[in-house]
Symmetry: C2
Subunit: 276 residues, 2 copies
């Protein structure tokens, strides 16, 4: 999928919602635990309930890895299920990978060849040769951490050099030398509010993956006001608020209702920006 | 295992070698491919051949993930095999993880509860709350990327603030506020030579995990000269040079011979420093 196709999906769905599949076995409804593969059963129900309302899914690798082989199997089945049934969905493997070249090659193989994700999140600390192996796959995307949504983002990402350039700005500038706008996005936390203005100075046209709306406290209005561009340029993620909206047997309908609320808000914001 | 116990193992084995299990299915000897689990068969033979000569093993998560469930199964079996047969070995899961708190918790669960590693490598970009969940496990270690061995280490890690403090130095200083010397190490690439002097100014007593000797071109002599401290303070990793020393049926003996050469060199260096 390229940038234009992603934008067309956003216009068609009137949504730039990404549903985060942070599927925690401790938090899924009790009645699913008797299923052969409770995690996949949960994901499948959530996906079927929300696919009309979002343009992307973001399985969070950590939650699947934490239970070993069964978790990995559920992750594989989840991505394959989306691919087969909702081929217009953009699938982000949220894995925050990054290592020396020969190792990043293996991570890229895992994300793009084995799991068939559309994109993978990558940590920039190790620099160019840790990111480039992910960029050799045509039609696949790398989403580089720039300014994250958590408190710890202040520890290193805001470090300033002698010219007042901050680390996240250096990441935004430097990585653009390695990739086109059709293969590179940035993670910018919704909790960063007006910092989106600074981000857009350096990356006016790129898509941004925006976590932190909902459970982490970020505001969708602020994100749209300061971050939206002519092709929307935003994938706003919501995980817990949607997928764990209810712990009862109605969990999928409750997730749909939450996703619908967000989609309705997004439709208004897209219209206000003249993008629909 | 605490720092003192690790040092005692180093003295007893006369070695500070860590063998990197970057087990690439494309590179293991042909005759193993008919085995039910070729990767585990390879690792088992390498471990049995080298366990007397090293104090640590470092499976590289990427190589196992790249082939999916079978790879994860081989990784689980490999760590369990070391735990059972060589309980004095320090087991580093090289995974370069790091995410917001609730997600790092899951990665920590995967590394320490599920896989039973002794330590995990962590990328510092996301700051305190991305690292701390790994520090809640008693007797377990976090190994934070400071100055890595690859070319891309120059892209961001050497960024200087107004006081001339570089990013990797800020990482060395800041992370020490979060953890004791018995649970925190740093990754410093062997290719960084005299930079070890700068590292030791900020982390005189910590253990350093040092990749980059061998295939990546770093010098063991330089590392020991500039990096060794009173409790050795070094785990020097070698992966490809040892485990892929031969592609023939004699691969395990060839690995043993390579590991022996490194151990012999290490014994001399430890004696020169008065640590044996």
């Amino acid at each position: 999928m390229n940038k234009q196709q992603l934008f067309e999906n956003i216009q068609r769905k009137k949504s730039f919602l990404c549903v985060g599949l942070d599927t925690d076995i401790q938090k899924i409804p009790q009645h699913l635990l008797s299923d052969e593969d409770p995690i996949f059963a949960f994901n499948k129900a959530i996906i079927d309930a929300t696919a009309d309302l979002c343009v992307a899914y973001k399985p969070n690798a950590a939650f699947y890895e934490s239970i070993g082989i069964k978790g990995i199997a559920a992750l594989e089945k989840t991505i394959a299920y989306i691919r087969e049934n909702y081929p217009d969905q953009f699938i982000i493997l949220d894995a925050k990978r990054g290592d020396i070249g020969n190792t990043s090659e293996m991570y890229a193989q895992s994300a793009f060849e084995h799991l068939q994700a559309s994109a993978v999140t990558v940590a920039p600390y190790m620099g160019e040769d840790s990111v480039k192996p992910f960029l050799t796959y045509e039609g696949k995307w790398v989403i580089v951490l720039a300014l994250t949504s958590n408190k710890g983002s202040h520890d290193f990402q805001l470090m300033e050099d002698v010219n007042g350039e901050r680390l996240f700005e250096k990441v935004l500038k430097t990585t653009q030398n390695w990739a086109t706008e059709d293969q590179l996005m940035f993670v910018v936390g919704a909790t960063q509010g007006k910092m989106f203005t600074d981000i857009r100075k350096l990356a006016p046209n790129h898509f941004l993956l925006v976590p932190g709306v909902g459970a982490q406290g970020g505001s969708l209005q602020d994100v749209a006001e300061y971050g939206m561009n002519r092709t929307c340029g935003l994938l706003v993620n919501s995980s817990r608020q949607i997928i764990f909206a209810s712990k009862g047997e109605n969990f999928a309908e409750a997730a749909k209702a939450e996703a619908w609320k967000v989609q309705q808000e997004m439709e208004v914001l897209l219209k206000e920006k003249g993008l629909l």
